[in-house]
Symmetry: C2
């Protein structure tokens, strides 16, 4: 259910979901409301007046009964329950006329989704591992075929499945199983990735079990492992859930885990930790849907190259050493039990192939999951994390590269940086006149830090409001208590100690901004360099796909304003969420996709940015807001000039 | 070294190997010498006179010094050491003029051999599992290929080997192994049977081990297991040897083992016994040649369908029950350790496929080993044992059938029947006048029984000499101490108690002869029926290949005389020895042969004789010596008439 909120005196109306706080509605409308405490109801500055309609909550103990009766509420805690007209009033010492100051609107990318019906219609809804019910003809004096031939020929006659090989373990149970329910059996068939190989019959059951046809899709992330339980008949996600990758206690980044893996038994230990994490999720998903463990016939997993090596117990030593050589980028189909997964002996594990040490199976899965591999549009696919992986191309060709952004987007190297958890400032706007902030925290908890997407919005807004210059320095010509000299240069006080969830002022320093600029510069330079390498410019891009947690939820305008993403029509940008997981799901449901993966990798050229001389120059040129070359960001420049006046 | 022996008064000369007993040379020449004790030197009747030259041994304590000085010797113990002229003298109460009576000559088939050079010249000397030495390019700033790609591409560039997949266990050791000897490695590649699949890299070693490239060929027989250690570079047999199949303590025939396999743990026990037998032989062969266990990269095994099931631990239950359905006729390549063979984890076991429950991998291997599958000649391939398997056809088409001969050829159902071991009468001739025998035993030991090939010659000779009639009954019109009424009808005393190695007369009974006739009749009827089914007659056969121990060493004339084999030019008959083992060796050395096996089976039609109505009639007609229809055996009939005079 949605409601309309009209803001006065600006005269703007937005439509929001039931339960949305007024302050977030204002932010959406591009209207500034002072909220220096982070939207937690502490500072009491975000007063509004209800002109018509009512809201839930929003009442502060600081308000008199008369104010409350008049319709005064706190914008940060008041929640929309019906259509309402709201007046933004001076409750924070602003001059008249400043009320309802316009701030930049926020734009999230539209979500790319994947519809199994498309597969069905295209005739490619053919899971790589699938169950078939067979009623076999009984042997008699004329029909002496062996049990195995009987099954193989029935698969051909009843399902047009050819070139089937039966492994020893199934052969050993074949005679008995066939006769247990009068020649009615259910087979599990594992198809080869290409038609140049044989299908394997991995499992056999007596009777008809073809309705119980389940698979798993698992994204093996450095931080979290996320899985989905899939019904391979309907294509539906029956359950999903995630948890930490237990390796995390040996270091948050992948490098420290690779180092640990070089110790005695270190590799085995890393392997055990990640499989333990996956097994925990599998157990949870199975329990939720009362699916038996041996009803899972396949699992598709994707991770970055290092993570995949640790999962398969392959030595990752040379991934982190020049010239960065993995053991393998392709992994054969294996028995899930052979990599320590707690599934039945017959379950097949399919591992997403990688492009290189730094463009892994997770990115390849994202390219598949986002549909980039089959679009005609020239697309920029980007997964932003400590490392940002960039893929440019379309159905004809693909080019990939990875650049090291550092941990700034995850809160690393930022004085008050933190993960996107409760109390993290995730949205921000500044009144360019008063320099007072409008901050919002996750779950409206007292501010404890700034998460990656909050940092992006904050720096973009400070820059656009003229509080930061192109080099990321605070302006020196304004006297304001929030702008001050700190221990490491100038800093801006985002939340005062008494309004924060920490026992100190929550600040943004110039060192933080430097670290941020280096991170965004590395990524932008990567995009530019890769574009140049393939002979294109930003203007040629017809689509941008953002993947990963950070990329999916960032404010696109801010990302362009700081020069993280190239300036282009943000209507062409979309996000895919966990693209790796989506790719795994697609592969679990369509063997054609598995085939396409190989084809996509074969047409993907990997670039090693450190070996492209132009990258360094691009990087240096990108260490500005938004860029040294402002002609690349004409609209950003125009807006900044307009707002800064 | 060979010598010439001239026999007088017959005036015949034969060429024999150094050390051949005189009596065997006489037999070869088709000359009768009384040797009623079986050629052991006991009866002292086989006296000869050396007219020129000398021999080794041959002196009996019964001889006077004068006789010895004159040149009197025992033909059974005297051995040829130089050219010699020998006179056969009356030393057994024969009438003059009977000396040097002509008896039928003996003809063994020529041996079919297999020459690896033919493979080399035909470009098909490509073992299914082979080693390759690679010098890999080192990774550098430009060459970032993964370790796996590096190996795969080097295989392509250096050896034109394509479509290679690397399994998890090799991937896990790849990084380390490649770098242990500076990017010099030896790979072991297992090729698929068809080009429609991928090759698997099963093993990797650092350094150059390509010269140590070994395989095993093993015939898994019901009675004996026989193996060869092969050098896959030269194609040579480095060592060979056999031993009993340890299952034998659970019954000599395959049926009793299948019955045992249906008990609790019976299958596992049968499996363990046969693999134990194979493992014993493997250990012996490896020791002999100082080949390390993990230097064996593959083993090819063949056996009949029941034996193959027990080896692979597949349930044989329906092989022995109508309608005789095996679990499978084709077996995937497997890890040798997965069937309990004591070889390295990486060793691949290749199992010869079967045609049906009763035409097994051993026969298919024989068809391959004998070259039948690629000859233009219309060929009869026959492996005679308790079951006789018959294949008729050529490179264009093949038809197979099996018939149950019973154990007569292995000594079963014969009062004094025994295996072909020391003391078994293996050759025999009778003087049609005196009815005195000329017997020879294996190793010239006192006679203990009659082995299959001895029985054949004995019955053929008795028949040709007119001592047996067409129905296999002894003539009743001659009074002779050796011809008498025994406990089960008439019998012929082959060796008297005092000259035998058993404490009784060694006899051949009419019941024995009946059993023999039923066995040979079943086989002849099988040949005739199969010929009729494919629209041919005996006259169309251009070649006969005899396989197996019994088939290989029988006297061809005798086999035709009794009507076991069809009457035809015996120059067209050859033997292949252990065809199953030869087929295994060929497959171990040529993947093309493996491919041809599949093609051969696909063009092989299996006939179930029990379901061909004509078979019963053919069988009844064959229960005569040689056959009811003597026009099928005109030459035999002519000779018999001539000899019986």
């Amino acid at each position: 259910m949605t409601h309309h909120i009209e803001f006065q005196p600006a005269g703007k109306t937005v439509e929001v979901e039931d339960g949305t706080p007024i302050i977030r509605a204002a932010r959406r409308a591009g209207l500034y409301i002072n909220a220096s405490c982070g939207g937690t109801g502490v500072c009491g500055k975000c007063r509004i007046l209800l002109e018509s309609g009512t809201v839930a909550e929003g009442i502060s103990e600081k308000f008199s009964p008369e104010d409350i009766a008049k319709g005064i509420r706190q914008a940060c805690t008041a929640k929309v329950t019906e259509n309402v007209v709201v007046r933004i009033i001076d409750a924070s010492g602003l001059k008249k006329g400043q009320l309802g100051t316009e701030v930049p609107e926020r734009h999230q990318a539209g979500k790319h989704t994947f519809d199994i019906n498309e597969f069905r219609e295209a005739g490619i809804f053919t899971p790589p591992v699938e169950k078939f019910f067979l009623e076999l003809p009984r042997p008699d004096a004329i029909d002496h075929r062996s049990d195995a031939s009987r099954v193989i020929l029935a698969m051909r006659e009843q399902y047009e499945e050819r070139h089937i090989q039966i492994g020893l373990s199934v052969l050993r149970r074949l005679r008995r199983t066939i006769r247990e329910d009068d020649f009615r059996i259910t087979t599990t068939l594992a198809r080869p990735v290409n038609n140049d190989s044989r299908s394997r019959l991995t499992h056999i059951q007596s009777g008809n079990w073809s309705k119980r046809n389940y698979g798993l899709a698992v994204d093996v992330g450095t931080t979290t492992v996320y899985g989905q339980l899939l019904d391979k008949n309907s294509g539906k996600i029956l359950a999903e859930g995630g948890g930490y990758n237990n390796q995390i206690s040996y270091g948050e980044d992948v490098i420290s885990r690779m180092i640990y893996a070089e110790k005695d038994d270190g590799l085995t230990h890393m392997h055990d930790l990640v499989t333990e994490s996956i097994n925990e999720i599998i157990t949870r998903l199975l329990k939720k849907q009362r699916v038996a463990r041996d009803e899972i016939s396949s699992i598709t997993l994707a991770g970055n190259t290092a993570m995949t090596h640790l999962l398969l117990e392959l030595e990752p030593h040379n991934i982190r050493r020049a010239p960065y050589v993995p053991v393998s980028n392709f992994y054969p189909p294996i028995r899930a039990v052979d990599i320590g997964l707690n599934l039945a002996d017959h379950a097949t594990a399919l591992i997403y192939p990688a492009v290189s040490s730094y463009v892994g199976g997770d990115i390849v899965a994202g390219v598949m999951g986002s549909g980039m591999y089959r679009t005609e549009k020239i697309t920029l696919f980007i997964d932003i994390g400590t490392n940002a992986e960039i893929v440019i191309g379309n159905r004809e060709w693909l080019a990939s590269a990875a650049c090291s952004a550092g941990p700034a987007f995850e809160g690393g190297g930022i004085l008050h940086g933190m993960r996107a958890a409760a109390g993290a400032i995730e949205d921000f706007s500044i009144d360019s006149e008063t320099l007072e902030p409008m901050s919002m925290t996750i779950d409206s908890k007292p501010a404890r830090g700034i998460c990656g997407s909050g940092l992006l919005v904050m720096i973009a807004d400070l820059f656009e409001a003229g509080v930061l210059d192109q080099r990321g320095r605070f302006i020196r010509d304004r006297e304001h208590p929030r702008l001050r000299e700190g221990r490491s240069g100038m800093e801006y006080v985002v939340v005062w100690e008494e309004e924060s969830g920490i026992e100190q002022d929550l600040v943004l320093t110039e060192v933080d901004i430097d670290n941020f600029i280096r991170a965004k510069g590395a990524i932008y330079a990567g995009i530019q360099t890769l574009l140049t390498e393939v002979g294109l410019t930003v203007g040629d891009l017809e689509q941008v796909i953002l993947a990963g947690g950070f990329g999916s939820y960032i404010d696109l305008d801010s990302a362009v304003t700081v020069g993280l993403l190239p300036e282009m029509d943000i209507g062409k940008m979309m996000y895919v969420g966990n693209g790796s997981l989506m790719g795994c799901r697609m592969s679990e449901l369509s063997n054609h996709i598995r085939r396409d993966v190989v084809a996509a990798i074969q047409r993907m050229t990997g670039f090693e940015l450190s070996e492209v001389p132009a990258y360094r120059d691009q990087y240096v040129a990108s260490l500005f807001l938004p860029h040294t070359d402002t002609t690349l960001f004409p609209e950003t420049e125009r807006r900044r000039q307009a707002r800064a006046g």
